[in-house]
């Protein structure tokens, strides 16, 4: 009975960690030049549910976000918050768990209602190893116009974990 309980707990744990979600986002921010700018952005980002930690660097021009387990944050929501603070959200390096699917030789990953289309400039050695199903990967999400954000992104995968 005890073993069964442990198995159930481990199953739930492994299921939750494998859920489709963003794990980490290093968001490039353009136009942020001062301490109150960073303070305002940091505070705005912290108001979002589902974050474990936020760090903003003026010198790097980046917001470093670690997301909590079972979060339902989207990259669109993060970039919208950057825009609301008066800055421009550019490309982002993301770590994500998602469901990799192949549709007509085009790969994409679905995460929390967002679709990350795998771009063709992903290195061949990574592309050839992709398999449909659950995946955790790191990639660079390409910049989209701040005024035209949608739930579809292009991602250049740099590492499959």
């Amino acid at each position: 009975m005890k073993k069964l309980g442990i198995i159930v707990v481990l199953s739930i744990f492994s299921f939750s960690t494998a859920m489709a979600q963003l794990v980490k986002v290093d968001q490039e921010v353009f136009g942020m030049d001062c301490a109150p700018c960073a303070y305002g952005l940091e505070r705005g980002l912290k108001k979002m549910d589902g974050l474990q930690s936020v760090k903003v660097s003026l010198n790097d021009g980046k917001a470093y976000l670690k997301l909590a387990a079972d979060n339902d944050l989207s990259l669109q929501k993060i970039q919208k918050e950057v825009k609301n603070n008066g800055f421009s959200a550019r490309s982002a390096e993301v770590t994500l768990n998602g469901e990799l699917v192949n549709d007509g030789n085009k790969w994409s990953v679905s995460v929390n209602g967002e679709t990350f289309k795998v771009s063709l400039d992903t290195p061949d050695d990574i592309l050839t190893k992709l398999k449909p199903g659950k995946v955790q990967l790191i990639g660079r999400v390409k910049d989209e116009e701040d005024d035209g954000l949608s739930n579809t992104w292009n991602i250049r995968i740099t590492e499959v974990l």
Binding site: G31, C34, A35
Partner: protein, 278 residues
């Protein structure tokens, strides 16, 4: 000196109960607007010295960001010592130098963030003011409107803002204060020693310049016998320190050219601004 110390103490006391803003130059026009939903508060101590007298004023500004490009402001004064014949000036270009209550809208109509810490942006300002005194320099003083446009470049190292504005006073009881066109140019620099990353403190130094061209006033329906504009150019340094949600700036302007038609000559302007982003 005693009065100056008093002003600083009163300003600090005010800040212990409320909070304040001030992001760019102290005297010149600037461009930054608040984040959507952002609120900030500025408490300012200002003084203007002429050859005859010196004014002291505390001023408070509440600002609210409707969107990241649209900001509402309201500013109210506490006059400690009023000049009987004050120069017509904006004093601080983002607020009246005299005892006006002013409400303004800032609209950042252009913004281009093109690099880490770098952006070009342009902001338009429209304000309405109502005086807290009956007369100014013997002229009945009325409500006024003010408009300005400013454009600037900001980076982690260099800042430049250039702008111009115009204030128009309405007629009251056959009197009318002359209008006030003005322009400002500000260059800012942050030395390497203050390039520490957030949340370390962040200091900048500005060289500010302000040119004002006050028009002749009308008294009892008669325009001044000398119907020409005054000309004044003022230059001076200001310093801005930022730490987290707090900002403090202080500086002075000194006249380098004055051709005053009405009123007395200026000797200097002082200002200190404490800001808090709520």
């Amino acid at each position: 000196m005693k009065q100056t110390v008093l002003i600083v103490i009163v300003a600090m006391m005010a800040l212990s109960k409320t909070y304040a803003q001030g992001h760019g130059p102290l005297f010149g026009l600037q461009t930054p607007t608040l984040a959507e939903g952002g609120v900030d508060f500025n408490a300012v101590a200002m003084s203007l010295a002429t050859e005859d007298d010196q004014s002291f004023m505390l001023r408070y500004i509440w600002s609210y960001g409707v969107t990241e490009d649209l900001q509402l402001n309201i500013t109210t004064p506490t006059m400690i010592n009023r000049l009987s014949d004050p120069p017509r000036t904006r004093g601080n270009s983002n607020m009246p130098a005299n005892g006006d209550i002013e409400a303004s809208v800032w609209y950042r109509f252009f913004s281009n963030a093109f690099g880490v810490g770098k952006r070009f942006e342009s902001t338009a300002i429209l304000s309405v003011s109502t005086p807290t005194e009956e007369t100014r320099g013997g002229i009945n003083v009325s409500n006024s409107i003010h408009g300005a446009i400013s454009t600037g470049y900001a980076s982690r190292t260099w800042y430049v803002w250039v702008g111009g504005g115009y204030q128009y006073y309405f007629e009251k009881d056959n009197d009318q204060l002359g209008d006030l066109p003005y322009a400002s140019l500000v260059v800012g620099y942050r030395p390497n020693i203050f390039m520490g990353d957030y949340p370390k403190p962040d200091w900048r130094v500005f060289l500010e310049s302000l040119a004002e061209f006050p028009g002749a006033s009308m008294n009892e329906g008669q325009i001044s016998p000398v119907d020409q504009r005054g000309k004044k150019v003022m230059i001076g340094p200001s310093f801005l320190g930022l730490y987290g949600a707090w900002g403090i700036s202080f500086g002075a302007l000194f006249p380098v050219y004055q051709d005053v038609v009405q009123g007395s000559q200026e000797r200097y302007r002082l200002s200190m601004n404490i800001s808090y982003w709520l």
